[in-house]
């Protein structure tokens, strides 16, 4: 496991180094996907702290990522309010193994001070970062995470990107997505499914239906 992990770390580091340089990446997948494709863009938290997207926020954690901007009056307030309830439901994780990342699509306006006030109004606690940065880098991040519309007219409408929450488990390189308009309970369940670790998987965690036949007698032999 540790060797595998080191190998992956090495690969991630290589990809990231080249992503920072914005140039060729030497040997490795030509089309990096999943975790390895994440750009390590420079961002600032609502406290003005400079951070790297991958190194400082994503690596080693479960993450919830959405895009918003403080003057958005369409999908953003509903999503942010939903995420606040998700934060409460997952309070034993948020700020520990789970972080919430809300990235501004209007970084010139949404300075750390503006974002800090927004976070206060919406009751964001520790572990929920509101992030500003350079517009081009945020756009790169947004596209990499698939938060765009294939229709260029709709894609140009920033309020269209506020509805999606990308969920990730970096150590497992496991990613999914859910609408921020789903009920907080649905979002929580989706986060839990991304967060699950092998040690959480016990036959007792059956979610319904026919029980395992003959209970433990039917456990499969190790592969």
């Amino acid at each position: 496991m540790s060797i595998e992990r080191r190998r992956l770390r090495g690969l991630a580091a290589c990809v990231l180094a080249s992503a920072c340089a914005g140039r060729d990446r030497a040997p490795g997948p030509a089309v990096a996907m999943g975790t390895a494709s994440l750009p390590n863009v420079r961002l600032q938290t609502q406290d003005g702290e400079p951070v790297r997207f991958y190194d400082d926020l994503v690596k080693g954690r479960v993450v919830m990522i959405n895009f918003m901007f403080t003057t958005c009056r369409r999908a953003c307030p509903g999503t942010t309010a939903n995420l606040r309830r998700v934060q409460r439901a997952l309070r034993s994780h948020v700020g520990r193994d789970l972080v919430m990342l809300s990235v501004s699509l209007d970084p010139e306006h949404d300075t750390p001070e503006v974002l800090k006030e927004y976070a206060r109004v919406y009751g964001a606690g520790p572990g929920w970062y509101f992030l500003s940065g350079r517009r081009e880098e945020i756009e790169q991040l947004r596209r990499r995470l698939g938060v765009y519309d294939l229709n260029p007219v709709r894609d140009a409408d920033r309020t269209r990107h506020a509805g999606l929450v990308v969920l990730g488990n970096e150590p497992m390189d496991r990613w999914s997505a859910i609408s921020g308009r789903a009920k907080p309970r649905q979002i929580v369940e989706a986060v839990e499914r991304v967060m699950e670790r092998p040690e959480d998987w016990k036959p007792e965690t059956w979610s319904g239906g026919r029980p395992p036949p003959g209970s433990s007698a039917c456990a499969a032999p190790p592969a």
Partner: protein
């Protein structure tokens, strides 16, 4: 590589302008990068037609074992181990780790008889510590199957690595109506949120049903038997697209929320294979097993197909078709007669449908000659006792006076989320409660603009009453379990649920849409 990087930044710049300056349109690149919503790749080059078409082995029963499934004297018992194994997609690519039923993709093919139940014990032997796309929890859905809720593969009924689960497949027909007997089913993963990557990793296989009419014996002396091409001349073909990195490793973009498209075309797990055929009739069971790709198949010789089944059931009459268009999860059984060709003749199965992103077929429509998918090489003579009789199997009646409920479901895109009646999949809440034995009319509406959605309803197949106000085409007028909603389409269908009370789902079979909650639970009561 540098050109690729250049393309990437070029696109970003244009996009940035579009955002800054309002509605400046940009032209998406045809061979786009993964983050442009286009076809993934380019994958390394591979030579077409250098490998033989793989045909999955017939799955063999084992001795009876203790199970909680109801069984009878003639029940057949099977084990399936869901495993990570090496697989060769093409001799010019390195072997890849895939997930397969019994470690192979497609998985072993089941042959079952109506009236003879199966108990199948699936062992989840997948690696618990797996990293990357795919989640080693699994759910098994027998697509098109008539089975109890707990044996249907409800997306939350997962079983974890190191455990097994028995699936009781009764192999009975709704109402014991022989007109409802089934033919071509398939089984695949149905894990909530992760069906797309899990099926992409290889978790799919065929399940074929036979009875006294479609008996799987072209020499059957029973006068009721259709004697369709059988045995070595009855070949299931699953069509899938995949992408590979420069090292030849299978790749999948977990951030592609529109529907993932690859640039390599597989038949039965092999890239562009060939099949040696005899000068006679063959039955091919086409399955679009792709995540997001639609196909329209042609034969390079201009010969037509004779379609005999749609999805899980035989048609009432064979239909001669110049081309076969398919959406994800649809099945089409065709007969191709090679007897008119000289030995040595080559005939290419082509996909002429152009598709550039997960929305569905592009406005360009058909291109010629399209992509070669499979090459048939006529190599020998063979006896042909098979027939394609007309009629095949009559349809059950549509009893409009018995209809007890009308339901309307709209399929839409809302700020990047996929919705049915403006709701996201909630495994804990049903959106409809159909009563057993009471026929219903469902109206499926596509409100999603330029998107296509193949909609699959679990438990029972249906008959299409109309598409956009018009009677369905002959190839859609049989029984089906999946129907494609093109942009702005409205389909009315007749459906009834029988025998099994419980929770089921219907959903879009673009697996990326499905994984983003374009699915709804209904409870039969």
């Amino acid at each position: 590589m540098q050109r690729r990087e250049f393309l990437k930044y070029g696109t970003l710049t244009v996009t940035g302008l579009a955002l800054g300056g309002g509605a400046v349109p940009f032209v998406p690149l045809r061979r786009a990068r993964a983050d442009d919503g286009g076809v993934a790749g380019p994958s390394p080059p591979t030579s077409p037609f250098v490998q033989e078409l793989p045909i999955a082995p017939l799955h063999q029963p084992v001795a009876p074992f203790a199970t909680s499934c109801p069984t009878s004297g003639n029940t057949l018992f099977y084990n399936v181990h869901i495993q990570e194994q090496l697989h060769s997609f093409h001799p010019q690519l390195p072997d890849n780790l895939i997930w397969g039923y019994n470690g192979i993709t497609p998985g072993p093919t089941f042959h079952a008889r109506v009236g003879q139940p199966n108990v199948v014990r699936f062992f989840n032997d997948l690696p618990a510590n797996h990293r990357g796309f795919g989640v080693p929890n699994t759910v098994v859905h027998r697509h098109g199957g008539f089975q109890a809720s707990e044996d249907d593969g409800f997306p939350l009924d997962l079983f974890t690595p190191g455990t097994s689960r028995d699936f009781c497949w009764p192999n009975v027909s709704p109402g014991n109506d022989v007109r409802e007997n089934e033919a071509t089913l398939w089984y695949h993963d149905h894990l909530v949120d992760f069906t797309g990557p899990n099926v992409y990793k290889g978790l799919a296989g065929f399940f074929l049903m036979f009875d006294d009419v479609d008996s799987g014996d072209e020499t059957d002396p029973n006068p009721a038997a259709l004697r369709l091409p059988s045995g070595d001349f009855d070949i299931p073909l699953v069509f899938q697209d995949r992408a590979f990195d420069q090292n030849g490793q299978l790749i999948f973009n977990t951030f592609e929320h529109n529907g993932f498209l690859g640039d390599k075309f597989l038949v039965n797990g092999a890239i562009q294979p060939f099949l040696r055929v005899a000068r006679r009739k063959y039955r091919f069971r086409f399955l679009d097993g792709s995540n997001a790709r639609f196909y329209e198949f042609f034969l390079s010789s201009g010969q037509s197909f004779v379609q005999i089944a749609s999805d899980d059931k035989l048609l009432p009459h064979p239909i001669v078709r110049k081309s076969i268009r398919m959406g994800m999860a649809e099945r089409v059984d065709v007969v191709i007669d090679f007897s008119g060709y000289p030995i040595g003749q080559e005939v290419i199965l082509q996909n002429r449908l152009q598709q550039n992103d997960g929305r569905g077929p592009s406005d360009e429509g058909l291109v010629s000659p399209g992509t070669p998918i499979l090459k048939f090489i006529v190599t020998r003579d063979a006896a042909d006792p098979s027939r394609v009789p007309d009629p095949l199997r009559p349809l059950p009646p549509i009893l409009l006076d018995k209809v007890g409920a009308h339901r309307t479901f709209t399929f839409d895109n809302s700020d990047g989320g996929w919705v049915i009646n403006d709701r996201f999949f909630d495994g804990n809440r049903a959106v409809a409660f159909p009563q057993l034995g009471v026929p219903e009319i469902w109206t499926l509406q596509n409100e999603g603009g330029e998107w296509s959605h193949p909609i699959h309803i679990h438990l029972e197949s249906f008959q299409i009453l109309s598409r956009n106000g018009q009677p369905p085409a002959a190839y859609e007028a049989g029984q089906k379990d999946t129907v494609v909603l093109g942009p702005d389409d409205e389909v009315k269908l007749y459906i009834q649920f029988r025998t099994f009370r419980g929770r089921y789902v219907f959903h879009c079979h673009n697996t990326e849409h499905e994984d983003m909650a374009m699915m709804a639970r209904f409870d039969t009561t």
